[in-house]
Amino acid sequence: MTKPKIKMIVAKPGLDGHDRGAKLLSRIFAEAGMEVVYTGLRQTPDMIVETALQEDADVVGLSSLSGVHNYFFPLVVQKLRENELDDVLVVGGGIIPEEDIPGLKEAGIGEIFGPGTDTASIVEYIQANARD
């Protein structure tokens, strides 16, 4: 039996408009065989969790280049948990200082991918860590 497709939400929390990376990765995840929904810009944590619920997502990918990751990323994890979506893998990317990464991981973000990351390694991580 083939493994079911990984269902992935790519989301841009907050007001940040930089979506080159989010769009590019959406395409690359789709090419890697995942089912991808890109939310577009200006998503609140509630909107992201709502999409995750509706789409029965396995993975939520958050992108932020405006410095709001410490505020938004943990909030998304918390709201997923409140909705009993504990097993949804949350990953993040963007302009995120290395010193912020331990705190984000502690808050429940699986991995943070900074600028210059090889996209294949992101795909690999998700395939290895998404729920079965």
């Binding site: 907050g14 007001l15 940040d16 408009g17 930089h18 979506d19 080159r20 769009k23 590019l24 959406s26 395409r27 690359i28 789709a30 991808v36 890109y38 577009g40 810009l41 200006r42 609140t44 405006s66 410095g67 709001v68 410490n70 505020y71 938004f72 302009i95 200082p97 290395e98 010193e99 900074g114 600028p115 210059g116 090889d118 996209t119 294949a120």
Partner: protein, 559 residues
């Protein structure tokens, strides 16, 4: 530029060189790659000769600086007269903090201000709006009301500096605040100079700070242009921007082509409003990127100048030379900077600065080497400004006009990029114009395909990026990154609460009611906006009136 016989002779000479010395070396050593391409993917030949520029007519294709078609520059003396304006985009935290950075920059020799607003202001929300959470003061300064604006320009005389404001959908509001402030300082409106970005189309294409649907947001854009033409004649009413198009992944030619397509749309909208092209076009300005491939950038700028001049003359029948000039600001390529080995970015920015200078820009922002990591620190900002000063004062690029003209390579690439621009403009015309091309997602998809191609080239190591896919090394995590006060949101919210309590709420209500009425009519909104900001209406309150009247834009996503 050579006669026919001479060209034949040169061609023969080339054939002999190819059969002789070239073949011998190729046979023994080969070349590094089968195909050489620019960062935009344009194939680059081994050698350019007079044959590649044979079709150029010097007078009609190149001409003289300050003369049609402006290929060689928009002013007769260029940097021999004066250098470009060194304008560093800056803003973070509160108005007070940013005011201190501005005064520091002015003290260090910067010659114009450039305001970075935080995202809530750019998206037309006040600092206490739920969507502003976490964003207050982050990527720019928090400006909610005229009181913040007053603090931002404290002790900066508005008749002595020019100010560029990166503000788009809410541009009428921020310009109104600036004009009200000028009045307070006793500076007449015809003495203030500066720019508002006011380019809403590229927000929809790629930058994301849109508020209203294309049509009403274009109406506000045109209102501002019309108002300034009458009352603020030294103001650049729009900065039609390719910068963000390039940042989001386009090629050099696409950057120029889609920006010109936007320029055509704005010009058309103003003409349809009944404005005389020669009365407003001289105040349209542009904003481009500069990547590290110096020659390609120079060719892009030259091709863009020539093409825009033709558009204005031929399509819009402009008569005034100023209407035909592509005057532009440049910012070095943010997306070219790497988080890996960040000091390497100083070199990238230096090359990009050199490209901007050789290309003939009117003003320039140089990025700081730490911008792939965080907002720039004061040290990095200083190096960035010094980079401009080194290029201006030491490189010699500023001693003669359009120094690369006549290079077979540069001229051939200029022609090639111009041809690509023309092809895109024709395609967009065939789709039904820029707005239709955006609605269909044509422009967005073209940009995304280029971004995808570039990423694949990097990952397959077809294209080398130093520190990313070659010459990598282990690094210590960077220290001393700029941090923004996380409690700023609360402070700004408290300020807003106080403002709302203390202002004359009758006058405020009256001003907003009037704005609503005018916004529903055909009347120009600007006078009503000026009155509203004077009555201490906030950015969010004014933008909400328009959200009510015009609705909000929700884009289709094209992946």
């Amino acid at each position: 530029m050579f006669d026919k016989d001479k060209l034949e002779e040169i061609k023969k000479g080339r054939e002999q060189w190819e059969k002789g010395p070239l073949d011998k070396v190729l046979g023994r050593f080969g070349e590094r790659k089968d195909v050489f391409t620019s960062i935009s993917g344009t194939p680059i030949e081994r050698l350019y000769t007079p044959d590649d520029t044979a079709a150029i007519n010097y007078d009609s294709d190149l001409g003289y600086p300050g003369e049609y078609p402006y290929t060689r520059g928009v002013q007769p003396t260029m940097y021999r007269g004066r250098y470009w304006t060194m304008r560093q985009y800056a803003g973070f935290g509160s108005a007070q903090e940013t005011n201190a950075r501005y005064r520091y920059l002015l003290d260090k020799g910067t010659t114009g201000l450039s305001v970075a607003f935080h995202l809530p202001t750019q998206a037309g929300y006040d600092s206490d709006h739920p969507l502003s959470m976490g964003e207050v003061g982050k990527v720019g300064v928090a400006i909610d009301s005229i009181e913040d604006m007053r603090q931002l320009f404290d002790q900066i005389p508005l008749d002595k500096v020019t100010t560029s404001m990166t503000i788009n959908a809410p541009a009428p509001v921020l310009l109104a605040m600036y004009l009200a402030l000028a009045e307070e300082q006793g500076v007449a409106w015809d003495k203030v100079g500066g720019t508002v970005q006011n380019d809403v189309l590229k927000e929809i294409i790629c930058r994301g700070q849109y508020i209203y649907p294309p049509k009403p947001t274009m109406r506000l854009t045109v209102d501002l242009i019309e108002f300034c033409q009458k009352h603020v004649p030294r103001w650049n009413t729009i900065s039609i921007s390719g910068y963000h198009i390039r940042e989001s992944g386009s090629t050099a030619a696409q950057e120029m082509a889609f920006t010109i397509a936007d320029g055509i749309a704005y010009t058309q909208a103003c003409v349809e409003r009944g404005m005389d092209v020669d009365k407003f076009a001289g105040r349209l300005s542009f904003f481009f990127n500069a990547f590290t491939n110096v020659i390609e950038e120079v060719a892009k700028f030259r091709a863009g100048r020539r093409y825009w001049a033709k558009v204005m003359k031929e399509r819009f029948s402009a008569k005034n030379p100023r209407s035909m000039m592509l005057r532009y600001h440049v910012q070095t390529g943010g997306v070219t900077l790497t988080a890996q080995q960040p000091l390497n970015n100083i070199v990238r920015v230096a090359l990009q600065t050199y490209a901007a200078a050789l290309g003939g820009c009117q003003s320039l922002h140089t990025n700081s080497y730490d911008e792939a990591l965080c907002l720039p620190t004061q040290e990095a900002v200083t190096v960035a400004l010094r980079t401009q000063q080194v290029v201006a004062e030491e490189s010699g690029a500023t001693d003669t006009i359009d120094p690369l003209a006549g290079s077979y390579y540069v001229e051939a690439l200029t022609d090639k990029i111009e041809a690509e621009i023309d092809e895109y403009i024709q395609k967009i015309d065939a789709i039904g114009g820029t707005l239709s091309a955006i609605e269909e997602g044509y422009i967005q998809k073209e940009i995304q395909n280029s971004a995808y191609r570039f990423q694949k080239e990097i990952e397959s190591e077809e294209r080398v990026y130093v520190g990313i896919n070659k010459y990598k090394m282990e690094e210590e995590p960077p220290k001393n990154l700029l941090k923004i006060d996380m409690t700023l949101g609360e402070k700004e919210a408290a300020k807003l609460a106080k403002l709302r309590q203390e202002r004359d709420n009758d006058a405020w209500q009256k001003a907003l009611d009037n704005l609503r009425k005018v916004s529903k009519s055909d009347e120009n909104v600007m006078p009503a906006v000026v009155e509203a900001v004077k009555a201490k209406a906030t950015v969010g309150e004014i933008c909400d009136v328009w959200r009510d009247v015009y609705g909000e834009y929700r884009p289709k996503e094209f992946i």
